[in-house]
């Protein structure tokens, strides 16, 4: 009765050896799969971190020193406070940010919106808009006409929500002495503005390293003047940030030296920035260093 014989001893031995080999292999595979997955996640995270870091910093440095409108067309009417050209990269020591690492500070004029003028052409101090401009009295405003080459920088001298005023200032007692006039009156009359306008506001962005709110490591943070200087945590797991600046003292367009912030004599001479950060996600501290070098796109700032 062959069919009820079952296995012979030799069959059982071979089958169990095979099973043993298979189970061992499967177990090893499971363990290594877990390790691989960890390694894969680590690589993806690092790749993603580098991409984000590179995008954020490059975009910021490229936009640094954006004048809003061309210097040649700009009329600066500001008197008190007088707005002189800000360097694209600012001295981080003045940024009042407490960080053990270096701080990157960029400055630019940032477009905040479009507005249509109520009148066809404005040749006097008041520029009436078709919408609220959200500019408070005394705050700097840069307005450029989308058509034509007119652009004017002044301190807002009106409290009206839809009117921009580039006139001398508040018609109070102090204005009679002229001492506190916000803007000066141009000798050859106000520049004519027509059609669609773009409004700009001064922007200042600081990137720095501080303790993460997650508590476990440090992060890259950002503070934007336009966002009320609130701190924004951008990227968790950044240990250190070091900055060197390419300076061009002879203004021949060729960077002469790479120096640290304390050795920059004139911030208008900075032509490129090199950011060196250490990612905490790296397997070794040496592997964690990432360098991002970015040249400035906007030339020296004019007054």
């Amino acid at each position: 009765m062959k069919s009820v014989n079952g296995f012979t001893l030799i069959e059982v031995l071979i089958a169990s050896t095979l099973a043993l080999v298979l189970i061992t292999t499967a177990a090893e595979l499971l363990v290594s799969a877990r390790d691989w997955q960890r390694s894969e996640q680590h690589h993806s995270k690092r790749t993603e971190d580098i991409r984000l870091l590179s995008t954020l910093l490059r975009r910021a440095v490229r936009s640094a020193g954006d004048p809003g409108c061309h210097w040649q067309w700009r009329t600066n009417l500001t008197k008190a406070p007088r707005l002189s050209a800000q360097p694209a990269i600012a001295n981080p020591l003045n940024a009042a940010i407490d960080s053990e690492s270096d701080v990157l500070v960029i400055q630019r004029w940032q477009p905040t919106g479009k507005a249509m003028m109520s009148a066809a052409v404005s040749e006097n101090a008041v520029i009436s808009l078709d919408r609220d401009h959200n500019r408070r009295f005394g705050h700097p405003v840069l307005v450029s006409a989308d058509a034509g080459a007119s652009c004017v920088l002044f301190n807002q001298a009106s409290e009206a929500p839809k009117d921009l005023n580039r006139g001398p200032g508040w018609a109070g007692e102090a204005s009679t002495t002229g001492a506190s006039a916000l803007n000066h009156v141009p000798e050859d009359g106000y520049q004519a503005l027509a059609g669609m306008l773009t409004l700009y506001e001064p922007e200042r962005v600081a990137f720095y390293i501080d303790d993460s709110v997650t508590g476990s490591s440090s992060s890259l943070f950002r503070r934007r003047l336009s966002a009320g200087n609130r701190r924004e945590e951008l990227l968790v797991g950044i240990n250190v940030m070091q900055l060197v600046y390419a300076v061009d003292p002879d203004r021949d367009g060729n960077a002469d030296a790479w120096v640290s912030a304390t050795n920059v004599e004139d911030w208008q001479q900075v032509v490129a920035v090199s950011v060196r950060v250490q990612l905490a996600t790296a397997a070794s501290p040496e592997e964690g260093w990432i360098i991002i070098t970015q040249a400035l796109r906007n030339g020296p700032q004019h007054d």
């Binding site: 069919s3 991409r51 960077a255 490129a272 990432i290």
Partner: protein
């Protein structure tokens, strides 16, 4: 009286066990190669990103020097940094024949155990 056992109570033969084991082994092998592929592609993306950052840094460095290329070769410091980051990395810079200004920067590295070379080309005008 002869008892005819029902076929379902018969045990498996050795050959059946062997075939089953073979199928299981093929399955495990497939799983293994899928894992390896996933890991390699993650690593590949990482290298690609490293090469991209490096290429951008090079181009921006050239721009800071007013468009003067670094004589087509890398300074030793850059070279060693590139080699540390990318396995078997090589760097070349050629001026595109038709423009005279535009340049092509090529970074080449070895892609893992299969020994395939991967390249990243970056075109730029200083």
């Amino acid at each position: 009286m002869t008892h005819q056992p029902c076929p379902s109570t018969q045990g498996s033969t050795l050959i059946e066990v062997l075939v089953a084991a073979l199928i299981l082994a093929i399955g495990l092998f497939g799983l293994l190669s899928a894992q390896t592929n996933a890991l390699m592609s993650a690593r590949q993306a990482h290298w690609q990103q490293q090469a991209r950052v490096f290429a951008n840094n090079y181009v921006e460095g050239v721009r800071a020097r007013g468009g003067t290329a670094l004589a087509g070769s890398l300074p030793a410091r850059w070279q060693s940094r590139l080699e540390r980051r990318l396995p078997g990395a090589e760097f070349s810079l050629t001026t595109l024949p038709n423009s005279g200004v535009s340049q092509q920067l090529t970074i080449e590295w070895t892609a893992g155990p299969v020994e395939a070379r991967r390249t990243l080309s970056h075109f730029f005008s200083p």
